[in-house]
Amino acid sequence: MAILHIVNKSPYERNNLTSCLRLAKAGAGLILIEDGVVAAAEGGKFSGALKEAMKDIKISVLGPDLDARGISRDKVIEGIDVVDYGGFVDLVAEYDVPQSWL
């Protein structure tokens, strides 16, 4: 069963992303939404962890949440897929089990 992990909190404030990356298996997906999108910006403390994770899991970020927070799409780590709400729905449908990290 492939899991779609959903992270909606900033990794600078909470450990959701860190725990998610620790427990995500190869073949899983991860989408960053709401405050979680700040992790997707290049040059941050979590860039290295995301790049390492990208070898095994597919990472996406919700574009409208980037835009709302003034994070330019040019600043998103290369290889992270910027999706709109429709793309988010497609991801939920594509994976077997959604897992929201509270």
Binding site: M1, N15, A24, K25, Q99
Partner: protein, 135 residues
């Protein structure tokens, strides 16, 4: 619809500070009543839910930790605790409640409900679930 599904309740919050831990227990018991294959995982501050010696007299809240001892009677016998989360907090399995269940297929032998697993093992367990509920 009478299909049995594999449910995992993922608990990541300490008890009493928020309502998550208690709500998780409530939903776990409800799902067991519907005869689902239920297991629980305790990660991050969720491991504090299982500490023995909880005493809430001083804070005016109900101590719901004894409820975990009853889970075995509802066929909830798999309580996975992530080793990394325990270690990070300076805890070992000896700090946790001694939770047992009776195996009717093995002459009612008492067995441990708490299973300490590594992050890699828990990732595998999560991957086998049909439904994961986060608390």
């Amino acid at each position: 619809m009478s299909a049995t599904k594999k449910f995992l309740f993922l608990n990541r919050k300490a008890p009493y500070g928020t309502i998550y831990a208690l709500e998780s227990l409530e939903v776990v018991l409800i799902s067991a009543a519907f005869e689902q294959d239920v297991s629980m995982a305790f990660v991050d501050d969720g491991v504090y839910q299982l500490l023995k010696g909880q005493s809430t007299d001083g804070i005016g809240m109900k101590n719901f930790s004894p409820t975990y001892s009853a889970l075995g009677d509802y066929d909830i016998t798999k309580l996975y605790v992530e080793k990394e989360s325990l270690e990070e907090r300076g805890l070992t399995v000896d700090d946790l409640m001694d939770l047992k269940w009776e195996d009717e297929d093995d002459d009612w032998a008492e067995k441990d409900s708490i299973i300490v697993v590594s992050a890699a093992e828990l990732a595998e367990i999560m991957d086998q679930q049909e439904v994961i509920l986060s608390f």
